[in-house]
């Protein structure tokens, strides 16, 4: 019987710019009475990564452009936050009814270019990490040094989707595992050769992690145990669909 376990890890303490994420996560593991074991994966919400990397913006320092100010006023939004969203966007996919769907420097397409005011406090907004794959690699390296074996890291954010309602957690940064499981060429039990089955397992792991994280419950880390991940030089960028291959957009 395949048995996957996902443990929500809270109590990592408040993370500030410059803080060591490894120390914070170890604090959470101790509080949860959990120890990392070979095979474990850690999923970490980008918010604590962004905080540790100082990717917060104090809106009181932002001067909105006339365009941002005009658009924000029309939809009752904070013009300073609209300005930050536009600065984080490399391309606006759609901008309507107070919502901005934008492409980020990483190639992600998401609401508000990943800028988010929740779980940061005061007049602050949180940006995505500059390079979530580098963030994941850094944390994975620190974890390996601390425990003596590879612990893959997935950095998550929740994105809306085309065609479907609600948001789901996805993997924006990956280190230590292959984010895509390619079944093409394998045979099913009937002898049929699978032709189109490339599973985005890192996104599925991120989605599974969200189920224990919660939005207001402050469990920013999930320990995933029992998943037979494929080792390799994976990245979150491998989950970004090249435009010319994207039949859904």
């Amino acid at each position: 019987m395949t048995d996957l376990r996902i443990l929500g890890i809270g109590d990592i303490g408040e993370v500030a710019a410059g803080d060591d994420l490894l120390t914070a996560i170890q604090r959470g593991l101790v509080a949860a009475d959990a120890q990392l074991m070979p095979g474990d994966i850690l999923a970490v919400t980008h918010k604590v990564v962004s905080k540790a990397e100082g990717r917060l913006v104090d809106l009181r320092t932002i001067e909105p452009s006339p365009f941002a100010a005009q658009w924000a006023e029309r939809y009752g939004k904070d013009p300073r936050q609209t300005e930050v969203v536009l600065r984080e966007a490399t391309r606006v996919v759609r901008m309507d009814r107070g919502i901005i769907i934008a492409e980020t420097r990483h190639g992600f397409v998401c609401a508000n270019a990943g800028v988010d005011a929740s779980n940061v406090g005061g007049d602050m907004v949180c940006l995505l990490p500059l390079d979530p794959d580098a963030s994941a690699r850094k944390l994975a390296r620190a974890l390996e040094q601390a425990v003596g074996f590879v612990v893959p890291v997935i950095i998550t954010d929740s994105f809306g989707r085309a065609w479907r309602d609600g948001v789901v957690n996805v993997a924006i940064g990956v280190a230590g595992l292959l984010p895509l499981a390619d079944y093409r060429g394998q045979h099913d039990p009937y002898g049929y050769v699978l032709s189109a089955s490339v599973m985005a397992v890192a996104d599925e792991l991120a989605a599974a992690a969200e189920l224990v994280m919660g939005k207001v419950d402050q469990r920013p880390v999930a320990l995933i145990r029992g998943y037979a991940w494929q080792s390799g030089n994976g990245s979150g960028q491998q989950l970004v669909m090249r435009p010319e291959r994207d039949m859904f957009r």
Copy 2:
């Protein structure tokens, strides 16, 4: 500590048209030495549901239209399968390079209108259940009668996405739980009122289930234990985004 467990259930035996899915699943639970407990959710891949409901098509009975034949020939596809895909589609979103992205009668947008030749054998292809929500409700009712408490059911399929590579499992049929967890109006620990957080938890549960199902390993059922689902009259249709609200398409 929040602890979610996901158990892959195989050994349900070959499912044929008219078979009782409850009996098959109970067989799998016994083989896995697993017993349903209050709070458990069952995720079931649509393939066994479709098989039990006779939603298989023998391609030898299909006469392709000239349009299907011409298109299939251009891309080296089976014209009979192309014909079935077009019959299952209510609208073609895109049709290029041998791939058909289509909208189904259920409003799902997916490759080949959900028609799939894997894990069925011979000249057969598998269609989506006619009404996956009805299928989920039927199985949930049977489960409740068998065990004496509510066991929510999620029927899954793997869909491609816009913007992102790879496919992920999603919920196409739901019974016994609310597929969307609405955090809007709740406060984060800093007092900020969440404004945009509606999580598609049924899709996240489906994604989590896929991690133990595998594509070629014949574990068509996953038992999810430890998730605090919200009881209610939920459906897979609630995850279909109304076009006028969809900012991503």
